[in-house]
């Protein structure tokens, strides 16, 4: 524990990562209390105050229908984090299980599972998500589905490599000689040794999921208005650069803060947990 804290605090980058992530998480959790205009997350219009440059009480300015950008960004963080967590909660168990089976069982199982994984990995992620969204209605749920579909293979590959090397270890042999079943060996012996790498990747991924979701929304394929979304905000605002710069810059910075923060925290976690690349 002491070692964990020392690593987190001594290294300025880790500290920065921790701070940024804390900012994002706290914003998402307490948006209702921090946002000066909580109702602006919905379909509210206030044409008297539309397109205002940043000044009190609209510290990030207002958008084209008069909603406070700061409040919307806080709620957008909530949506992004939610998206990230849901995607990971579904994609990770699927990816990890397939990776464990392919890595430990070998033979035809390995061949079939890894070739399927390879197919998914060979399609550029954004293209895959876009195609799925093209077929489905653009809603938050479908957005999550699309991102999940492209996310699990990365965990499969990570765990496959780890499982392949762990299966040569003495403790796996010992469990086999004792007579433990394959399921036990995969999930109770090998998996715990993969957890540091999986956790590290999940932390890094949260930032990337937010980025991908923002990209999808930027292309109009993600969440629909009036739900606040960082990517859509950047897209909508980009038409009005450089005059109404705040419409693009602040949501863009918000994405940067989240992705950067999770990246740095992920690196720190890697060092703490001693995970593999």
């Amino acid at each position: 524990m002491k070692r964990t804290l020392t690593i987190l605090i001594r290294n300025p980058l880790s500290l920065l990562g921790l701070t940024l992530v804390a900012l994002v998480v706290l914003s998402a959790l307490f948006a209702d209390f921090i946002a000066p205009f909580p109702e602006h997350r919905g379909a509210v219009v206030d044409f008297a105050n539309f397109n205002r440059a940043p000044e009190w009480p609209y510290i990030f300015g207002t958008d084209l229908v008069g909603r406070d950008l700061f409040s919307r960004i806080l709620y957008a963080y909530r949506i992004s984090l939610l998206l990230g967590i849901v995607v990971l909660v579904i994609a990770v168990p699927i990816g990890v299980t397939i990776g464990l089976a392919a890595g430990y069982l070998g033979g035809w199982t390995e061949f079939v599972l890894m070739r399927v994984t390879d197919v998914f990995l060979s399609i550029p992620p954004l293209v895959l998500a876009m195609s799925m969204m093209g077929l489905l209605e653009p809603t938050l749920t479908n957005g999550m589905l699309a991102v999940t579909a492209m996310w699990w293979p990365w965990y499969t590959r990570l765990v496959y490599n780890l499982a392949r090397s762990e299966r040569e270890e003495g403790y796996v042999l010992a469990a086999e000689v004792i007579g433990a079943g394959k399921a036990h060996i995969m999930f109770r012996e090998i998996l715990p040794n993969c957890v540091p790498s999986i956790l590290t990747k999940m932390t890094l991924d949260l930032g990337f999921v937010i980025l991908i979701a923002s990209s999808l929304s930027f292309l109009g394929l993600g969440v629909q208005p009036p739900t606040p979304d960082l990517g859509s905000m950047v897209a909508d605002g980009s038409k009005y650069l450089p005059d109404s710069w705040w419409l693009t810059v602040f949501p863009g910075l918000a994405i940067l803060v989240a992705v950067f923060g999770f990246n740095l925290l992920g690196d720190a976690l890697r060092e703490i947990l001693g995970a593999e690349q």
Partner: protein, 271 residues
């Protein structure tokens, strides 16, 4: 007359490496009597590890059969076979799962074979640790908190957890420090004698063999070169290879030096 617990009959193992065929074990036959300690010695490439792996059922033999208590062992072992033949590995670091407590690793054997009732197994784990000279509360620690010698004792406890008859020990003390090795060897010796266990003790260290084994089987390049009682092997070996092996052992006392010199003289005389 003690029974033969395990015997290998004309066992061979051929590995296919790419397009090549590698004969790791060539037509080997020998038996292990119940309650004895048979040392299997040889250098790298001798096939001793391959034989251990086949006895343990890690992979099947290519030719011949391995007979346990009169019945040929199948390629796929069932729980009863697994229970009967256990393993102690060389590397104390990797043979215990670093992410599980020592107690959990021990408990696995009890859970798999349904030994005792569920409630009592954690207590039994504590007892097992005490039987190998470790404090019972070590069961809640992970292997990282234990020394090499302690980990190896845990590995021994694990091998004995399900009351096996035959224990295959693959270089069990080679990775340990000198003083620790002596303690662990003593433990192994005492356990075998007090419980009537049978050991197949694989090692390259002949000085260990002299003091722990009843009989010695010497292997070279996959073939059984010589098998005899320990005393005979060390005082009057039949094969030159055995002589050379003993002659190469680095010794600590003048008496041992004399024994080596005597054996090497014989080899040179016969040549």
């Amino acid at each position: 007359m003690t029974q033969t617990l395990l015997s290998l009959r004309s066992v061979s193992k051929i590995f296919h490496v790419g397009t090549r065929e590698v004969r790791a074990v060539h037509d080997v036959s020998f038996g292990v009597a119940e309650g004895e300690c048979l040392a299997v010695v040889g250098e790298s490439g001798s096939g001793k590890s391959t034989i251990a792996n086949m006895v343990l059922g890690i992979y099947p033999q290519t030719l011949g059969e391995i007979v346990y208590r009169g019945n040929a062992l199948p390629a796929r072992r069932d729980l009863a076979h697994r229970r009967a033949i256990q393993l102690v590995q060389q590397n104390p670091l990797s043979s215990l799962n670093p992410k599980r407590t020592v107690g959990a690793s021990l408990r696995l054997a009890l859970d798999v074979h349904g030994i005792g009732d569920k409630a009592g197994r954690w207590d039994r784990v504590g007892q097992l640790l005490e039987e190998v000279g470790l404090p019972a509360d070590l069961r809640s620690r992970t292997p990282a908190a234990l020394s090499g010698g302690q980990r190896q004792r845990v590995a021994i406890a694990r091998a004995l957890a399900c009351h096996s008859d035959l224990v295959v020990l693959d270089e069990p003390t080679s990775a340990l420090d000198v003083l620790v090795q002596a303690r662990v060897l003593k433990l192994l010796d005492e356990l075998r004698k007090s419980r009537g266990l049978t050991y197949i003790f694989i090692t390259h260290d002949l000085s260990v063999v002299r003091n722990i084994a009843d009989r010695v089987a010497v292997f070279e390049k996959g073939r059984l070169v010589e098998i005899n009682s320990t005393d005979r092997i060390f005082t009057d070996p039949e094969s030159d290879y055995t002589r050379r092996l003993i002659g190469a052992v680095p010794v600590v006392t003048a008496e041992e030096q004399a024994l080596r010199d005597q054996l090497m003289e014989k080899e040179n005389a016969d040549a």
